[in-house]
């Protein structure tokens, strides 16, 4: 690594620290510095600048990784209890690190201006954001299973800390998250200890050795522990219940950050452990007895269900934030599905979707936060008609939802197209149909989002709202702009995912600036977007040049059923936006997983109560007798039956 850097860069003498060391050190200094600075108003701006610098460092690291360097090492390493702990950043970790720092950059920028000043304890939020970034960088650059687990726990708890900042319901939601995350972490813990048991080590190579040495049953246990443990973080069904409330209740800017990248840490770990280290062939050969399925296809179905069900739950939400977070869960399913297809197209599509999702989801969340900032609510039944009041926020939200729904010309379409195509080429029509169905549900859902907030009737009390300040509008517009540019020129994003894909291994996807050229159907977004814009221009010509002059009426000038409507009458069609659909699919929402969750809670409660009721000091002699007798029987029979 250092050799290559020497050849390529002029600061060859400065070789004391690798780029990764610089990154980690800067992140650590920033986090601790922000805790000390506390309420200082420039803390946010400082953090933003530092994130910008970190992005620059990452860009240099990216150049190095792109030139064929396998990974960037860290000088930091420990030897504890006979285990070596090391950190190094490879292409996969770099890709996620880039998104992490990028999301932190925009979230921090957004939080530094007017929005941050209205927040209670914004200094703490900035500090916790920096802590999250540090924890994620540690996770993403982990060099063995033990440092992976340590990073995993740090990320979980850092996220927990930032989730609690909302107070009230946020604390309850964060608590629920914490229990899920803890259970997942314990599963991962058990899994890595299983690996260590077989090979005596905790390096990444040991995992590969372990899998070839283990019996099928053991590999299954390992697979389930890893998939469930990491799956909790990316809210794979059925471990998804925590995510929407926890992310929704987090204060706006931090929430945009969490939404954009936090759940992706689970995806990173799944890719690392299951795809890169275990290998999809090994998963594919892990057959489920008496079925045609394997571990790989089972996980693909889980991903597909995660894609469809949360999307249709999102459709039924009445709060903008909840709607978006539920979609976030669903979008995670697309990414995992793409990666699991395993072809170069699928992997690239899944990874690109991670990138795209981060751009539009962050933009969407920042836009919704701007609405909350001005109108005071994100309840979809209490807004409407804000398009004239907050046009730039509207533009952001519009671009964001086009991306989320996966329509041209935004980047969300490209990655989804790649995933669809890989499913088709991979011979998975049913999964493809599920992906299509989820996209259709998304279109319905996001239209409701934009309609209920920005279209329709403007409320009297919102008549004099102003557009959000520049400090809020600019970051979100830039994010949406990135979404458009990488939709117009997906090659830019694919260059980035290439670095990650090379680290995962397998074939690379040949691509050009406009998309990919395949034997079975190509996509060139330069043409698609270019023609679309041109055609809309033609539509504009037809509209403006032909026909009579139009005249604009005021937003309040309206009628219905032959009567003029005044602004005092609330006629915004917002509640139960899809009644026909609700009548059909409404009864399908059984809430079985919610009830299963409640059931487990009740079980623990009853067991605890029962125990407390039965286990009293007065009865102890009885127990003593019982245990002695049972113990004598036990030991006796042990002696007789070896």
């Amino acid at each position: 690594m250092s050799l290559l850097l020497r050849r390529r860069f002029f600061w060859e003498e400065i070789d004391l620290m690798s780029l990764l060391d610089i990154l980690l050190l800067v992140a650590a200094l920033l986090a601790s510095g922000l805790f000390v600075l506390g309420r200082g108003s420039f803390a946010g701006w400082l953090a933003t600048v530092v994130y910008g610098l970190m992005l620059a460092v990452l860009a240099i690291a990216g150049l190095a990784l792109d030139s064929g360097v396998a990974f960037i090492p860290s000088a930091m390493s420990f030897e504890i209890l006979g285990r070596n702990l090391g950190w190094r950043l490879d292409g996969l970790g770099w890709f996620f690190a880039l998104l992490t720092v990028g999301a932190a950059f925009f979230a921090s920028w957004y939080g530094s201006g007017e929005w941050g000043r209205k927040q209670k304890r914004m200094g703490l939020q900035h500090a916790l954001l920096a802590l999250n970034v540090l924890a994620m960088l540690l996770l993403l650059s982990s060099g063995d299973l033990l440092s992976l687990f340590i990073g995993w726990e740090l990320v979980s708890w850092a996220a927990f800390a930032i989730m609690t900042q909302g107070g009230g319901p946020a604390v309850a939601a964060a608590y629920r998250y914490m229990i899920y995350a803890l259970a997942g972490a314990m599963a991962v813990f058990a899994a890595i200890m299983l690996v260590q048991n077989v090979t005596g080590g905790l390096g990444f190579a040991d995992l590969q050795t372990a899998i070839s040495a283990m019996s099928t049953a053991q590999v299954w246990v390992l697979f389930i522990l890893f998939a469930a443990g990491f799956g909790v973080k990316m809210a794979l069904m059925p471990f998804h219940l925590w995510q929407a409330p926890a992310y929704s209740e987090t204060p706006g800017a931090s929430s945009a950050f969490l939404n954009a990248v936090s759940a992706r840490m689970g995806l990173f770990a799944l890719i690392l452990v299951l795809v890169k280290l275990t290998g999809l062939e090994a998963l594919g050969s892990l057959a489920i007895p008496f079925t045609f399925m394997s571990a790989k296809s089972a996980l693909m179905w889980v991903a597909a269900i995660t894609m469809v069900v949360p999307t249709f739950i999102a459709l039924m939400q009445t709060d903008a934030r909840m709607l978006l977070t539920w979609h976030g869960i669903g979008q995670g399913g697309y990414m995992l599905l793409g990666v699991l297809v395993g072809t170069s197209l699928g992997t690239a599509g899944g990874l690109m979707h991670v990138f795209n999702y981060a751009t539009y989801q962050a933009a969407l969340f920042l836009a919704v936060t701007a609405v909350i900032h001005r109108a005071g609510t994100s309840d979809l039944d209490e807004l409407g008609g804000l398009i004239t009041r907050m046009p730039w926020t509207y533009v952001t939200l519009l671009m964001g939802i086009i991306g989320l729904a996966g329509l041209p010309p935004m980047n969300g379409f490209v990655s989804k197209w790649m995933i669809y195509k890989s499913l088709l080429d991979g011979g998975q029509p049913l999964l493809l149909i599920m992906a299509f169905a989820a996209t259709l549900g998304t279109i319905l859902s996001v239209y409701k989002l934009i309609h209920n907030i920005f279209l329709g009737q403007l409320r009297r009390e919102h008549q004099h709202l102003k557009e959000a300040p520049v400090s809020m509008v600019l970051p979100m517009l830039i994010l949406a702009g990135i979404g458009f540019v990488t939709g117009f020129m997906p090659g830019l994003a694919l260059n980035i995912t290439d670095i990650a894909q090379r680290a995962i291994g397998g074939d690379m996807l040949p691509h050009h600036l406009g998309g990919v050229t395949l034997a079975t159907g190509s996509l060139n977004m330069l043409w698609v977007v270019g023609v679309l814009i041109g055609a809309i221009g033609a539509g504009a010509l037809i509209f403006y040049l032909l026909g009579n002059r139009r005249y604009e009426v005021h937003q309040f000038d309206n009628y219905a059923g032959g009567h003029f409507l005044s602004a005092d009458i609330r006629y915004h069609f917002s509640h139960e936006f899809y009644p026909g659909l609700a009548r059909v699919i409404g009864p399908w929402y059984r809430g079985s997983i919610v009830r299963a969750e409640q059931g487990i809670g009740i079980l623990v409660n009853v067991a605890g109560d029962l125990w407390q009721a039965v286990f009293r000091v007065a009865y102890t002699p009885l127990y003593m007798l019982l245990v002695v007798v049972l113990g004598l029987v036990f030991t006796g029979s042990w002696g007789i039956v070896p």
């Binding site: 609690t164 314990m186 200890m193 409660n605 407390q612 000091v617 102890t620 245990v627 002695v628 006796g636």
Partner: protein, 485 residues
């Protein structure tokens, strides 16, 4: 191998001081208090010196009066024993009553506990162990009741009855052993055990000993006194009993297991009781509605985890158990100090983070460590446990699964309380403010925890060597027998 007569000091000095203290107290009230502290300090220095010697020159032993091992009273000190003797000393020093009460009773009892506890881990003889165990028991009854409340008296009376019942069972076990082997010296027993103590009679003896000593070790199911005592005894006593004395009893059980009863049924028995203890403790703690009983129940669970660790054959399990025990000895007393300030419903914690931010932060730190979150020491202790468990038979895999599931429940109830600290009503009166000054021992322990985090590597190496030493049966037996010469 060496014989060291001063091995008696950690036991003798506090016991003698305990006799003298009432007399000193009679001369002058204040003098008694200072005398007691001075005695602890002297004991500590003597123990530290001994520990230094043991660490340098290897395990030491000594026979009282020069009588040879099978007949005489033998003491045996290795790194493990000395570590816990030192821990006990530090604990007694740290949890020495801070009030300026003039009664010499508690001081005497504390010194007795100190001497008895040291004797418990240093004895190389089954009967002496029993005697010291009784000394510790008597001291703890008195200490538990020293709060002066009616509830405290009632609780310690029930504790006494239970403990006496346990002791009689233990005595029965000792009788069984003696009947089978004709000796009570641990070294002799270690040599004779393969012939005479294998099979059901030996297992029955171990069971009786386990139940008997298990009362102090908070072992399932003879730990039902725990919530009551911990709720009513003064916090310093609670900390001492939960944090340290319980571990001494477990160390004794470990010695029995390693030296005398290293057979599958014995290991299986301890494992079963450990698993049940974890389940019972965590579930009951989840339903507890005040901090104090939460920690009492969770203490049961923690000791169950340690029992599971000790039930894993080989040094790896012992190392894990020692690490867990040391960690628990640091964390649990600190917890009890915090709980002492917020007696009553857990909801009273509401807003505690605003009035006492440091305490809330300490609470979170301790919680994270005891759940086992890296890179805090609790994680490494759990790591050792899982490492040992997964390299043993599948029964231990089940135990590991129970421990991990228990950690989730633990996180649930600890962070429910933390939620009250940090959440709670945003307006109005928060939980009562109190001076961090009253919590000095808790903060000291928290600091120890943080320091330990940066010293995991040397600590781990030290604990592992300790465990290897404690598992080396022939060497121990030889050393104890040598002590007679």
């Amino acid at each position: 191998m060496n014989t060291v007569p001063q091995i008696i000091f950690p036991v003798a000095i506090p016991l003698i001081a305990a006799f003298l203290l009432p007399i000193a107290g009679r001369c002058h009230a204040g003098f008694g208090r200072i005398f007691g502290r001075a005695a602890v300090l002297v004991t500590f220095l003597a123990s530290a010196l001994l520990a230094w010697q043991v660490a340098g020159a290897g395990p030491a032993s000594s026979a009282m009066g020069g009588f040879k091992a099978p007949l005489g009273i033998v003491f045996y000190a290795d790194n493990l024993a000395m570590a816990f003797v030192l821990l006990l000393n530090i604990g007694v020093w740290l949890f020495w009553p801070s009030g300026d009460e003039d009664r010499s009773g508690p001081y005497t009892l504390l010194l007795t506990l100190l001497g008895g506890g040291a004797g418990l881990v240093l004895s190389g003889d089954l009967f002496n162990i029993f005697v010291f165990y009784e000394i510790v028991a008597v001291a703890s009854y008195g200490l538990a009741a020293s709060g002066g409340s009616a509830a405290g008296f009632g609780a310690s009376l029930r504790y006494l009855l239970l403990s006496a019942l346990g002791s009689s069972l233990a005595l029965m076990g000792i009788a069984l052993v003696y009947a089978a082997a004709g000796t009570l010296n641990l070294a002799d027993l270690a040599l004779l055990a393969p012939d005479v103590l294998r099979g059901p009679p030996g297992a029955a003896a171990f069971l009786l000993l386990l139940i008997g000593f298990g009362v102090k070790a908070e072992l399932f199911p003879v730990n039902s006194w725990v919530p009551e005592i911990y709720a009513s005894a003064p916090v310093r006593v609670t900390s001492l009993l939960a944090g340290i004395v319980s571990k001494l009893a477990l160390i004794v059980i470990l010695r029995f297991l390693v030296l005398v009863f290293p057979m599958p049924s014995a290991y299986g028995l301890l494992l079963t009781l450990g698993i049940l203890g974890v389940l019972a403790g965590e579930l009951a703690a989840y339903r507890a509605r005040d901090l104090n009983s939460t920690f009492a129940w969770s203490s049961i669970a923690q000791l169950g985890v340690i029992a599971i660790a000790f039930s894993i054959p080989g040094p790896a399990g012992i190392a894990a158990g020692i690490a867990l025990a040391l960690h628990h000895a640091v964390v649990k007393p600190a917890f009890f100090f915090i709980a002492d300030k917020w007696r009553g419903d857990v909801k009273l914690l509401s807003g505690g983070a605003r009035t006492s931010p440091l305490v809330a932060a300490l609470f979170v730190l301790l919680s994270l460590s005891i759940i086992g979150i890296p890179p805090l020491p609790g994680f490494w202790a759990k790591y050792l446990l899982l490492d040992a468990a997964f390299s043993s038979s599948p029964a231990y895999w089940l135990a590991a699964a129970v421990v991990l599931a228990g950690a989730v429940v633990e996180g649930a109830y600890l962070f429910r309380a933390a939620g009250f600290f940090y959440g709670g009503p945003q307006k109005g009166r928060g939980a009562a403010l109190f001076m961090p000054g009253e919590l000095v021992p808790a903060f000291v322990l928290g600091a120890v925890l943080l320091v330990a985090m940066f010293a995991i590597a040397p600590l781990g190496a030290y604990i592992t060597s300790m465990a290897v030493q404690a598992a080396d049966v022939p060497a121990i037996a030889a050393q104890i027998l040598l002590g007679g010469n």
